[in-house]
């Protein structure tokens, strides 16, 4: 028992009684604490981890996305709460898609779209079909600013919380922008967002900027021929579409593994790895099904960055993959930048990050403290503690 850290926290008060009080928490179990609140017609699930010392002071933690299943256990939310340098409760909202029923027509349209991408045929019509069949743009899968605000407001009120701070990653910056000052008591005094999504940047500029960063790390020569490799435990072959997708997926790969992964993708030495990276990027599962999380991704990112001017008709480069991720956004308008007046903001950025380009972060967050970090991988939250020292004052 020499190396053990016995971090038991036996008592975490949850006034609503946790799972037993919320039918949606019982019928679809989570691996985190789960409670829920009615926001309009929709039951909003959330996790609230209370500080060891009772306090109303609360930090919203937003892990980004959209498409993240925040209560599934992979984020170890209690660990996040315990690592905060001072005592705060931690509030995490779950994206609506996790518990949203999807119609068969909607599922089919997603599969049709995915197949259209792979076969480079009828992409535009398939994208339009998703908008129609899944009723995209009504805030059923991702958050709308109003719903996010209302949920935070209602939870704060019912659980007697005071929102003091905001800790977010990547798309968390967009959620932060939802907490504008028009609703009382939900605007945090300070906010930290690691690798923030550049709120207000239009889709064309974002995708081109991402492609430019990615070009800097990719091997010069990428095989241009079509191929199809069958592998066991995968329903569909690994093709050039997956290879380009995998290159885009390297934006999330840890720095220490990047060279090996890039080399392996280039040479198709490990088709399993290519398939995994591609599937993660598109959220493919089953045979040609896409996770309902991708609906949240489209709904909320399209609302934020608008449409791309020329969505690709085929896939023959990493640029095509990047622009294709926005091809469902046709006719969406870019949301205006929301000023987070009154909140002290600190963000991190890395010149090697191909998901949230540092050049755009510098433009958008010109009033925030921007800390440059070395790590290239988009998921790396390094620097948040330095940001804490910059903006958090425990008064």
């Amino acid at each position: 028992m020499t190396v053990i850290d016995r971090l038991r926290t036996d008592v975490q008060l949850d006034n609503e009684g946790g799972a037993s009080a919320a039918p949606l928490c019982e019928s679809q179990p989570t691996q985190e604490l789960c409670a829920s609140v009615k926001v309009g017609d929709i039951e909003q699930r959330y996790a609230l981890y209370m500080a060891a010392t009772p306090t109303a002071d609360t930090v919203i933690y937003d892990p980004g996305g959209p498409g993240v299943s925040a209560l599934s256990g992979t984020l170890t939310l209690q660990s996040v709460q315990e690592r905060l340098p001072s005592e705060y409760n931690l509030l995490v909202l779950e994206e609506p898609w996790v518990t949203k029923e999807i119609s068969e027509n909607c599922s089919n349209s997603m599969s049709g779209y995915y197949s259209a991408l792979r076969e480079a045929e009828g992409i535009e019509a398939a994208a339009l079909s998703i908008q129609v069949e899944c009723a995209l743009g009504q805030g059923m899968y991702g958050f709308t600013p109003e719903r996010y605000r209302e949920a935070v407001s209602m939870i704060s009120e019912s659980r007697n919380l005071q929102i003091k701070g905001f800790l977010g990653h990547s798309f968390g910056s967009v959620r932060l922008s939802y907490l504008d000052s028009t609703v009382p008591n939900i605007q945090p005094a300070w906010a930290i967002v690691t690798r923030p999504f550049p709120v207000g940047v239009e889709a064309d500029e974002l995708m081109q900027s991402r492609a430019d960063v990615l070009r800097g790390v990719l091997p010069g020569e990428i095989a241009s021929h079509e191929f199809a490799v069958e592998i066991s435990s995968r329903s569909i072959p690994v093709t050039r579409f997956d290879q380009f997708s995998a290159f885009v997926g390297t934006g999330y790969v840890a720095d220490a593994e990047l060279d090996e992964v890039l080399s392996s993708i280039s040479s198709v030495a490990d088709p399993q790895l290519i398939g995994t990276l591609s599937d993660q990027l598109w959220m493919r599962y089953g045979v040609d099904a896409l996770s309902p999380g991708v609906l949240a991704f489209w709904e909320e990112t399209c609302d934020t960055m608008g449409q791309v001017t020329n969505p690709p008709e085929g896939i023959s480069s990493v640029e095509d993959i990047l622009f294709a991720t926005a091809s469902v956004c046709d006719s969406f308008d870019v949301a205006s930048t929301v000023e987070s007046g009154g909140t002290d903001v600190c963000v991190t950025s890395s010149v090697g990050d191909s998901v949230a380009p540092a050049s755009l972060i510098g433009e958008v967050f010109d009033e925030a403290i921007v800390l440059s970090v070395d790590s290239r991988a988009h998921g790396d939250v390094i620097g948040w503690e330095d940001c804490w020292d910059e903006v958090v004052s425990d008064d």
Partner: protein, 377 residues
């Protein structure tokens, strides 16, 4: 289910062991009968003590009932399974899912369905059924299964890449190396709806502390008797289902010889004292080497933690009589492997005993069988 709760370093209690042998023999006899003629066996006269109708399959027998991937039941079960994974952020290819449909010896025309991921394999399945005393319309069911990891989990979607504008990773904490579920479904004595079965979902997560030999193994099993969201046609509302016994256990897998020896130390387990300070809707945390994993508490009453340094086993045991739509047990263990290159494998054990009682129909049935899944060998 209390089976061989022997202290570290000792051998089994001989009385208990003999009883297990007796039950095993009885089980084998009945299983033989049932396998030959399940319908007639299921129609036997009501039982006396130690004469539950039982049904046991070993690993090869389970695998003999595995469906081809394109059979409709296999597709339906697998699709439900992978769709559920997707909601939890796990992307599972249909080719990675296996389904076995075993003829249900207790309910004619139904199947006991088992679903599991590639990289794991079922080791054993046990079912027992007992009637109540004369005039009692209710009955009891015992069901257990064991499953082992047999591959390192390289087809997991939880590692390597990501999507969208998220995927925060925390280098200072443990990272999720792999995680899967397996499911058992069988028909109740008194089905509540036209299509629903009892379901037992057994899930695990392997958390690694990067660059070290430390691992946290996190387990939960949820047994659902009635999903309140299921709007299927109701068959009967007169029956209630009570949980009598519910046990989960985990230990290093014996399916892969090399890896069994590669977990050098069983460091900690949680919950360690389930009754103290337990509050539903709260969580407990287990930590090792500066990393920790938190686990929700969804059951407090009637729990007894299980922990044995030999054979490095942890778990949780519920005993009582509780009517609830579902029950979930969570437990976790912290281990040290031989070195930082080792990827350890674990095995999981699940057991539930349910009593189905009919309004004004008595409620006396009890399962007497015990099943250890071969874990004491």
């Amino acid at each position: 289910m209390r089976i061989v709760n022997y202290p570290p370093g000792s051998t089994y209690d001989s009385t208990h062991f003999e009883r297990l042998i007796f039950i095993a023999l009885a089980a084998a006899a009945f299983a033989a009968v049932l396998l030959v003629s399940p319908v007639s066996a299921a129609g036997q006269e009501p039982t006396t003590e130690e004469s539950d109708q039982v049904f046991e399959l070993n690993a090869p027998e389970i695998l003999s009932y595995q469906l081809e991937g394109d059979e409709p039941l296999a597709v339906a079960q697998a699709e439900t399974f992978v769709a559920n994974d997707a909601r939890n952020g796990i992307l599972t290819d249909l080719e990675s899912v296996n389904v076995a449909a075993i003829p249900d010896p207790f309910t004619d025309g139904n199947t006991i369905d088992l679903v599991w991921h590639n990289g794991t394999t079922p080791d054993g399945l046990f079912m027992a059924r007992a009637d109540g005393a004369d005039g009692d319309a209710g009955g009891s069911t015992g069901a257990g299964f064991t499953i082992s990891q047999i591959e390192e989990g390289t087809d997991s979607s939880l590692i390597v890449g990501g999507n969208g504008y998220g995927d925060a990773t925390d280098a200072s904490g443990a990272y999720l190396f792999d995680g899967r579920c397996a499911g058992l479904q069988f028909t109740p004595i008194y089905p509540r709806t036209s299509s629903s079965k009892f379901t037992m979902n057994s899930c695990w997560q392997k958390w690694a502390k990067s660059g070290t030999e430390y691992w946290i193994y996190n387990r939960h099993t949820q047994f659902t008797t009635l999903n309140p969201n299921n709007n299927d046609e109701k068959v009967t509302t007169a029956a209630v289902t009570k949980f009598v016994d519910f046990t989960i256990r985990s230990q290093p897998s014996r399916a892969v010889g090399d890896n069994n020896g590669n977990l050098e130390e069983f460091i900690d387990w949680a919950p360690s004292n389930a009754e103290v300070n337990c509050q539903q809707g709260t969580s407990f945390t287990i930590g090792v080497a500066g990393s920790s994993v938190s686990v929700p508490i969804s059951q407090c009453d009637g729990l007894e933690p299980i922990a044995f340094v030999v054979p490095q086993q942890f778990g949780l045991d519920y005993d009582g009589s509780s009517q609830q739509n579902s029950m979930r047990l969570d437990a976790a263990g912290a281990y040290a492997a031989d070195n930082s290159d080792v990827i350890p494998f674990w095995a999981d054990y699940n057991w539930v005993e349910l009593q189905e009682c009919v309004l004004n129909g008595g409620c006396t049935s009890k399962i007497h069988s015990q099943w250890d899944g071969g874990w004491q060998n």
